[in-house]
């Protein structure tokens, strides 16, 4: 039911309300009012007839009010015993108050993050097809304060021996698990890895105690197999790693790799020297402690003479549900301090996102606790655990991600590059999302 009513017809209606002041008012043109509901327009009556009719009387009253008539008093009088009735029209808001949202940019973010380039092409004496530059930010990631100069990059893990992996990860690597070079090829060719990390874990005296010289051969194989920049990781054994990284750095001379890592609990001077002697960058790894990160960076720069453009930080990644809150805030504080001028922290950051696979939610078949709701299939749980862990740290300013599962890599790249601004997609009309059939 919808009646069109001419404004000229209003006078008749308003007569019921004794609206004498309307007389003598001329209204140009014949404005049409769109009124739902029927006639019958004594307001007190209308109220009794319910909402639809009341709406009409409100339209009418609004017009009268606009024309300067004291409608409210009239309503009160006309309705007799019903003055406190909640007729919304009594306070119905007439006009939008115009507004403009002004937001200042962050003036304190005055110091850019250092740019660090990894990999060397033939022009620079290497054999990589391309280089990758991390850092250079002038704001928190994806913020409107300043464009981010470089997107995030993913380096995928390759190990020099078969290792224990979650089932859903393992399925992707069974064919290459005994051949690091083929493994490296696979992650670049099939899984779109920007870089490759070769972890020389078999060098650990408690595992195979592979001699450093032999491990360096694996590095050569990987450099042969792929033409992206690479990261070289030791086994995590603090006594052996310096030697392993020295030999690896030598083997990779000219390729500008990232050596992982220098830390306070091993002979970081040797690692730093291996990097500077052979033109590589070094990963400065500390454990969730901003002051330790400052200390190690300072030592690398001052004591070991590592140039600023050759330091990347790994402030430690804890998995979602297992300390990610500390890891996130630690990184965010490091990045904010850098942007605000702390020269000991203005370096790009790297995350061992693969750590997400340590969370039981990522790999366990079902919850060990019977009070929990069903955990659902683990093959979907694992990758999203790695994605959310990485994504969280990307928002804290992390630049490079070390990852394992191809689905995780794909989705993490998609979301970080979407926020970075390099993904085009058809715009979705969300104006009526409420009624969408999903």
């Amino acid at each position: 039911m919808s009646n069109k009513m001419k404004l000229s017809g209003l006078t008749d209606i308003l007569k019921d309300l004794d609206v004498e002041s309307l007389e003598g008012v001329t209204i140009e043109g014949d404005i049409e009012l769109d009124i739902s509901g029927g006639g019958g327009l004594n307001p007190a009556m209308a109220y009794a007839l319910g909402h639809e009719a009341a709406q009409i009387s409100l339209h009418v009253a609004n017009i009268a009010r606009m024309l300067g008539y004291p409608v409210d008093q009239l309503f009160a009088a006309s309705m007799g015993g019903l003055p406190q009735v909640p007729v919304a029209g009594q306070s119905r808001i007439q006009e939008l108050i115009p507004a403009k949202l002004d937001v200042a940019k962050m003036s304190e973010w005055a110091t850019p993050i250092q740019e660090v380039t990894l990999g060397a092409t033939s022009a620079d004496g290497g054999s990589r097809k391309n280089t990758i530059t991390l850092g250079g930010e002038n704001a928190l990631p994806y913020y409107f304060d300043a464009e981010m100069p470089h997107r995030n990059y993913v380096t995928m893990d390759v190990f020099d021996m078969p290792i224990g992996m979650a089932k859903s990860v393992k399925g992707n690597y069974e064919d290459v698990i005994n051949d690091p070079a083929e493994w490296a090829k696979k992650v670049v060719r099939d899984f779109n890895a920007d870089m490759v990390t070769i972890h020389l874990i078999s060098t650990d005296p408690l595992i195979n105690d592979t001699p450093a010289r032999e491990a360096a051969k694996v590095v050569e194989d990987v450099l042969q197999a792929v033409d992206v920049p690479i990261v070289i990781g030791g086994s995590g054994n603090p006594k052996k790693d310096p030697e392993v990284l020295e030999k690896a750095a030598e083997a990779a001379e000219g390729e500008r790799v990232l050596l992982a890592s220098a830390s306070l609990n091993l002979d970081y001077e040797r690692v730093a020297k291996a990097a500077t002697d052979h033109g590589h960058a070094v990963l400065s790894w500390t454990q969730l402690e901003i002051n330790a990160q400052k200390e190690l960076n300072r030592k690398l720069m001052k004591q070991c003479g590592v140039p600023r453009d050759s330091i990347v930080m790994d402030p430690t990644t804890a998995a979602l549900g297992y300390g990610l809150d500390y890891a996130y805030t630690n990184m965010e504080r490091i990045r904010l301090a850098g942007l605000m001028g702390d020269e000991e922290l203005t370096f790009p950051m790297s995350s061992g996102t693969t750590n997400a696979w340590g969370a039981r939610e990522s790999w366990m078949k079902e919850s060990p606790l019977n009070q929990d709701s069903d955990w659902g299939p683990r093959e979907y749980r694992g990758p999203i655990w790695e994605i959310v862990t990485g994504l969280t740290l990307s928002l804290a300013g992390n630049d490079m991600f070390m990852m394992m599962h191809p689905t995780s890599v794909q989705v993490l790249k998609e979301i970080t590059q979407t926020l970075y601004g390099s993904i085009e997609a058809d715009e979705i009309d969300i104006t009526n999302w409420v009624g969408a059939e999903v």
């Binding site: 808001i93 939008l96 507004a99 504080r333 709701s373 299939p377 749980r381 999203i384 979705i428």
Partner: protein, 469 residues
């Protein structure tokens, strides 16, 4: 908050040091006001004595959080959103964790609807001594039929105490929902540039909180919010639109940043809680797994950056588990201690034949192990070694968990293995396996290697305990 030092708050307190608030002095109480661990109402004299009325009112105004707090629902399940004072959690903490509302729609079968609502309200995930759960139901009008909508709202109310969001752009439909549910204080969704007068009238008439929706139009959003609040509608939620893909998503992210930065910096007209609608991911993806994944990704972004309430669709565990965890990650108070006191703790009622287990004193690690043991009825001694609050794997790598540390930990706790145990066995965590030889040398005990995840301790116990002679 307009003040940031205890001294400034102290001026408004009675200054009698009466101790009724549980603090030793008014100054101590004042510092708790500043870190928001206590409220002005906790000072009984201040609220009850007439002579302090003016000071109390002034203090409350100064202490009010920058971002308005909005309560949705009634009773125990009511949720509060907003109330934040900082842009980064380490500056204080974030308050009122993001409320997760899952949708149902009015064209669903009644049976399906009830089943879905039950799934949503029954979801729980044990975590550090408590359960992570979901919060709300969003009822969407797909039919655009007021009667159908009212019936769906009614059914939801009969099934759950979870607060509701009533979703339609048609004021007649919203009104029909309110007729059924107004006393439950649902959140209205939404007023936009076309219907705002009618929706505002409904919010006033029924006295419920209301969302204003202006997709990618921050001036309009602010205009709506300002208009509403200046006309007495104080409980406003802002939806700047959640565009799920491409440049639209990037713009959405930046819109959230702008709104919250302006609000925290003192623009009262926009200092309201923000709503995200990751559900729109379903408008961009056809298959359920991709849609669920993308929805989870979008939800994570807006849980981390300033979403105070969100409407979600996927009830797959692989979507919900990371969502409840990322929310907990962001809203955990960073000031709360990260460690448990080192020592030997009894789990259940251990005897001389029970195992002695070793773990790190990182609170998360310790509580995870502890709950795996206690909820599976395993009696044992659990040693928290002082690893500086670092988890087992990292502590082994970083040298904070060593044989010497383990020996010292037992000694400091006064735990004499010979006296307490018949077995002289230490069970190391699987991630500390490489310490086995050292620990044997250092302590003279036999060392067994437990599983790499304490969730597997029940199975491990069955196979390995008691140790074969």
């Amino acid at each position: 908050m307009k003040i940031n030092s205890p001294l400034e708050a102290y001026k408004f307190l009675p200054g009698t040091n009466c101790g009724e608030c549980g603090e030793t002095s008014c100054m101590a109480f004042a510092s708790h006001l500043i870190d928001r661990s206590l409220k002005a109402t906790d000072c009984t004299p201040l609220v009850s004595e007439e002579k302090y009325k003016k000071k109390y009112d002034e203090l409350e105004a100064l202490l009010a959080p920058e971002i308005r707090e909005v309560v949705i629902g009634v009773g125990e399940k009511a949720v509060s959103i907003g109330g934040d004072d900082v842009l980064h959690r380490h500056k204080l903490t974030f308050f009122n964790k993001t409320a997760f509302a899952y949708d149902v729609w009015d064209t669903m079968d009644e049976k399906d609807l009830v089943e879905r609502v039950n799934k949503i309200q029954d979801f729980k995930k044990f975590y550090v001594g408590d359960f992570l759960t979901l919060d709300m139901i969003a009822v969407r009008s797909v039919s655009d039929d007021p009667a159908k909508f009212a019936a769906a709202v009614k059914k939801v109310m009969e099934t759950t105490e979870f607060p509701m969001v009533l979703c339609s752009f048609n004021p007649e439909v919203l009104k029909a929902g309110l007729e059924v549910a107004a006393e439950k204080r649902p959140l209205l969704y939404a007023a936009n540039k076309d219907n705002w007068q009618d929706v505002a009238a409904l919010a006033q008439e029924y006295n419920v909180p209301v969302t204003v929706f202006a997709p990618n139009d921050l001036d309009m959003l602010k205009s709506l919010a300002k208009t509403f609040s200046e006309n007495g509608i104080e409980d406003v939620v802002l939806d700047p639109g959640t565009f799920p893909t491409g440049k639209g998503l990037r713009t959405t992210f930046q819109n959230f940043l702008k709104i919250r930065r302006a609000g925290i910096n003192g623009d009262r007209d926009i200092a309201f809680p923000i709503m995200a609608v990751p559900l729109t991911a379903w408008m961009a993806h056809d298959d359920d797994v991709s849609a669920s994944y993308w929805e989870t990704v979008v939800a994570s972004v807006f849980t981390i950056k300033y979403g105070d309430i969100m409407i979600l669709h996927s009830i797959e565990p692989y979507a919900q588990l990371p969502q409840v965890h990322i929310r907990d990650t962001i809203y955990t108070d960073p000031r709360k201690p990260v460690t448990v006191d080192p020592g030997v703790y009894e789990v259940g009622s251990p005897t001389a034949d029970s195992p002695l287990l070793v773990t790190a004193n990182f609170a998360l690690t310790y509580y995870t192990v502890e709950s795996d043991l206690s909820s599976n009825g395993i009696d044992c001694y659990l040693t928290a070694i002082d690893t500086d609050g670092i988890g087992v794997e990292a502590a082994v790598a970083g040298g904070q968990l060593t044989a010497a540390k383990i020996k010292k930990g037992l000694e400091d706790a006064g735990f004499d293995m010979k006296e307490k145990l018949n077995n002289n066995v230490i069970v190391l965590p699987g991630l500390g396996a490489r310490l086995q030889g050292d620990v044997e040398d250092e302590t003279g005990a036999a060392v067994m290697i437990g599983p790499t995840d304490s969730g597997r301790l029940p199975g491990w116990m069955e196979q390995n305990w008691p140790p074969k002679k």
